[in-house]
Symmetry: C2
Subunit: 460 residues, 2 copies
Amino acid sequence: MAIQKPTLPKGTRDFGPLQMARRNYIFDIIKDTFKLFGYQQLETPSMENLSTLTGKYGDEGDQLIFKILNSGDYLKDVSVADLGAGAGATLPKVSEKGLRYDLTVPFARYVVMNRNEITYPFKRFQIQPVWRADRPQRGRYREFYQCDADVVGTDSLVCELEILLMIKRVFAHLGLDDYAIKLNNRKILTGLAEVIGAAGREAELCVAIDKLDKIGWEKVQDELIERDFVQAAIDRLNPIISLQGSNIEKLDFLSTFLASSEVGLKGIAELKEVFELLTKYGEDEKFVDFDIVLARGLSYYTGAIFEVKVNNVSIGSVSGGGRYDNLTGVFGLDGVSGVGFSFGVDRIYDVLEELNLFPEKQLEGTKVLITYFDDEGRDYGLMVLNQLRSSLISAELYPDTAKIKKQFTYADKKQIPFVIILGSEEIEQKQVSLKNLLTGDQKSCSLEDAIAEVKNSIID
Amino acid sequence: MAIQKPTLPKGTRDFGPLQMARRNYIFDIIKDTFKLFGYQQLETPSMENLSTLTGKYGDEGDQLIFKILNSGDYLKDVSVADLGAGAGATLPKVSEKGLRYDLTVPFARYVVMNRNEITYPFKRFQIQPVWRADRPQRGRYREFYQCDADVVGTDSLVCELEILLMIKRVFAHLGLDDYAIKLNNRKILTGLAEVIGAAGREAELCVAIDKLDKIGWEKVQDELIERDFVQAAIDRLNPIISLQGSNIEKLDFLSTFLASSEVGLKGIAELKEVFELLTKYGEDEKFVDFDIVLARGLSYYTGAIFEVKVNNVSIGSVSGGGRYDNLTGVFGLDGVSGVGFSFGVDRIYDVLEELNLFPEKQLEGTKVLITYFDDEGRDYGLMVLNQLRSSLISAELYPDTAKIKKQFTYADKKQIPFVIILGSEEIEQKQVSLKNLLTGDQKSCSLEDAIAEVKNSIID
């Protein structure tokens, strides 16, 4: 067989030990938070029927779904005429399944298929990879993890409160303290369109306003004119664009500004209640910014809209979500409303790396390496190894009789903090030599003392 | 849009909250064990280039790899003539990538691509799904998790010892106490072929002998005859087939039986050393059975062969592994030997279910539900909720003001063990009523006392 030089498919990644330890550090904080808040884990298959996936993500999204070739003689239904008709026409004949594109559609499918067994309100979280045949670029991969939490079956604003609380807890535990949870409400955007005389056009309005941060108000106005908004309507937006102040000040201003819009006032009332619930829970508004121009371009949000931006980093937006009224309508089950949020783990990883926020101490891995000089040392080492592990200390015995320097290099490369050295003296005195590779300290002591010292250092 | 009734692709599964809690229970025990033994986690992409996957699993395996359709106009290189040539001929033109079929080939690819950065001996574990386009049947799925640990870069038998220890630890923590770790050595099988006069034919010999459990010695003999083994050779196997006794008794018998085979004696010496290392570590031979007819049909094993069978259940074989001499040769890197083991999580799940061994107490999920009667109760409840979570107790506030019975039904269905009830009396006296749903006990107490009681019950 010819020797191949193996490569990875474009846009995919291996995660080696250090990266996995760091990713698990992030996943564990998010997972612990979801569980603390009563969310239950769900996993769905990587493959879904194309009939489940197609038509949910727009035409462009459909193109980006990875399709799986039918097994066996997959071309048997493809005719010569089909060949001329192009890829789209033959696709249904050669592929029935695709890879998960997000976690929301599979969740909706799950809810519909299990509607009678589910306990509502259903608080589920899901942490799994998704796949998109996007052009790979910095920070954009063809396989990446999503980390979603959703509650369906209630429109209580306590759920919105909990999303704010979960974000705050996750970011606090990650050591991030310069970020903003941007919060808006679709009903306010609807009201805004109404009061500027463009009722029902909030989607278009949002697409343009969404770019405010990037291109500025002048260019947003140009775009609105291109989209046939009249100048008088655009002018009425001026006070909104320049709106400043605390959350409550902004909401107070809007109470007047949107006074003629029933739905707009409803949106304000919802937001005010979320802030009140936050206070009643005993939390302050720190990190939470009402942002009236936040739209996230997603038309299926019907209530709250969330986005988290980390300040002073190259990729700022790391997470987002919102409330929707009809998650499962596309599968024939109406009236399932809910609210959800997704942590962008890959981006959070990049942010922590950029800000040097990963803990300095070894996150996972062996705490003690046992080294020795000969078979007698190895045999003694096996007993020591057993004792360490019985004390739940992750430990290894260097498997081969090798030069002590080689064994230390192994400890060093694996960032193992402690080495136990077993020479003839230690064996004779039934002791061990324990070396702390971080401080350089070395001492002879009983195995019990060594175990106590290592355990103390793990707790620190 | 037409309403679809969604379904799952054949051979795939959703894992709801209860199943996930049980699966995580198994995964956590295995993961903790791998980490305690110094294995580091690796994750590789779900997709690999077909050039990486093809030719590694035999012709049948190649058929079972799920192929991913190239993006865009995937038929552009397919000619009319290709259509007549069949699926195999056109495959390279429409698909470049496939889904991971196991964790071993991606691991080998990773080692080759990162050979200079890896610290050897490299102890890696990997827990990820794999996909096979197999015909689905009971216990066989098209997507399932593998749970592998391998050490490469050393031929120390300490690694074989550690595999035995890891299996023992995992099974002990799962509460399994009626099982056997079957252990053999490829070199003994090689020696066996030599001494019966069929040198070099141990692979064929093993394929037949592997069926001993299922079809019995008579039919195995028939198969050996079909495979052109002479009767004299088969007769010489008789004492092997009927071999009884302790591990050491069997090894002693073989020392004589295989005396003329150098490689056979080497295999015996290796096995003896593994048993000696086990004793030196301080463990006994319980659960470990030297099984001279264990072959696992896998020709790439060169040393130890492992298999775990649970007794008295419908699907017995739940895990397996062995030593190999040349993991990465197919990718052009020779001399990487190692030993690996794979826990079959889906089968272990079925075994635990069949034996009713999952812990009775709720494995994951909310510990306390806060219930209330009106807005005042909800507001008080928010403060209570904050205190519970600050004490790291997983807690929920029922999000809507609903009949108390409905709130209790929610707690019941979610198997939440404690309910806090907040009526006007509790609010006035700044107390809570805590009800233990398992015992039915209810009492009024301070929030601090309630937290203490819940925390105690979690530790139990």
